[in-house]
Symmetry: C2
Subunit: 348 residues, 2 copies
Amino acid sequence: MTNLQNDLFLRACKRQPIERTPIWMMRQAGRYLPEYRAVREKADFLTMCKTPELAAEVTIQPIDLIGVDAAILFSDILVIPEAMGMTLEMHEGKGPVFHRPIRNEEDAKELKSIDPTVDLKYVLDAVSLTKKELNGRVPLIGFSGSPWTLLTYMVEGRGSKNFAEVKKLIYNNPVLAHKLLGKISDIVADYLSAKIEAGCNAVQVFDTWGGILTPDDFNEFSLQYIQSIISKIKRTNEPVIVFAKGVHYNIEGIAGTGADVIGLDWTMDLGEVRKLIGNKVALQGNLDPTKLYGSEEVIKNEASKILQSYGKGSGHIFNLGHGILPDVPPANAKLLVDFVKEESKKYH
Amino acid sequence: MTNLQNDLFLRACKRQPIERTPIWMMRQAGRYLPEYRAVREKADFLTMCKTPELAAEVTIQPIDLIGVDAAILFSDILVIPEAMGMTLEMHEGKGPVFHRPIRNEEDAKELKSIDPTVDLKYVLDAVSLTKKELNGRVPLIGFSGSPWTLLTYMVEGRGSKNFAEVKKLIYNNPVLAHKLLGKISDIVADYLSAKIEAGCNAVQVFDTWGGILTPDDFNEFSLQYIQSIISKIKRTNEPVIVFAKGVHYNIEGIAGTGADVIGLDWTMDLGEVRKLIGNKVALQGNLDPTKLYGSEEVIKNEASKILQSYGKGSGHIFNLGHGILPDVPPANAKLLVDFVKEESKKYH
């Protein structure tokens, strides 16, 4: 499969035979690495996203330093609303802020239609450069937020506890909500297609805020758009991963979207989910990211439990159940990666 | 059952025949009511908790104004750590803060052993006074945080996104964590027994932060302590409700604690949970609190779906899936209560 020296991740996505379980970590190109912080000192977050050299540099760091089996392009899900004309302020540690959130038809009119190959060309350039610099060592993953998760940020404008504003929108003006979700979906499908065209070997859709919805609302406002995107992505054999945090109540629905891989948070039992949908899709996850604050024994015990829970055979990509936290010691991340690489052999 | 004029709530807890589904709302004595805010203007939050006349006054407001079928004593779960010697600052809207959180053995040594009948006498006085003023109109519910949830606040000291500190404690010093949880459990059991002795007709245990744990950690650090408390509470026929938000992965375990009623958040399907455990316990919930931002149609549709999902027969107490939000119009809360009272008749 391709000219990759290490294609374990891609084979696991397709549930093809592998020698050991591959591992990567969400937010692996991030603040826990001193080498990342050194780059970050020279440029702000958005500048890093928009400068292919810097994006490529931090994307590759965890391959060299931690030894993960896949790279994920350094970027942010909010580059889409930013390209649509929303002014984005990134406060690292505090989260992103849109000072003029979208709340009604008037606000929505100001959103530009965009062509990702033009308006997000810097991302595609970063993909090309990263591919070149990776030089076939490991596959490169591209990603996007789901339409629902992007809409949540666009409407709330900032971090939220109860998501009151986006919920008011979907309850009281579902027509506008669906119009926006449809528009975002088309952009996301084009964006992920362009990333694959530029060289990404797989793409992941993050539905970070799917889990705040009731099961019916999730189907109406998130799931159908994820399904629509997956049906539209132009790809040959590149797997699609869907990670819908907290959506414990419709794992089967997510497995029916056409996704190749389902990401799971740490509240799910991998073995039980495998029984439910493991003949349809591969599973990715699901170590509680805070376990990396633990001792060597804690980390190894928990990783062992997860490997054992999935059991024998291909179809598991080891990952965290959410992004790696900024104050985790890099040595603990490396310890996890080394341990999973060795320990997982007996399951294959 | 007792001399109550309206004992629908208590009969539903015991799955005894009822004429219609009872309803109350978590945080119903709260900021969404202008009458509550008027009292709050005269006294700070802790003073309200500690002044039986004020606590009784706001406890009874939603009975008169909204027409709910049960009162829940106005108080806060953090009165226990406060009585144990931790200095508590309540910033309404921002959440509570302990400036000196518990992180190690040294910190833990400073926690006092308390006798709730002495150190939390003001709560028991508020129960007695409220009972007198309610004059048998509806039952009175008392509550406590679960040991795990109390420990989380005591260790984090303030609102948290990743709960890094309490997780570091349980991973790296489980001995201390269990020692603290055992100590808190004894206090909670005594506290809830004293509340029942003082006149509460039912008690609810809030495990607000159970859902941040992996399934194994939940069993070890939360569930066993809830079970221990329930076995120790001195009661005759007073039901115990357990609400463990986000613990979708061990509903059967919670139903096995000896609880009479399980509270559910809005990500759960009431009908499916009833199939799973409805022959053991009653179910309470589970309207998404943000639905009360919706139109009359939205609120009625969603309430109908929930009643229909539970189906015919006793054993359902209508509630929200989390506390009512401070900016919900009281008229919408009243609309929900009136609608559930009428619409639910056909299920009985």
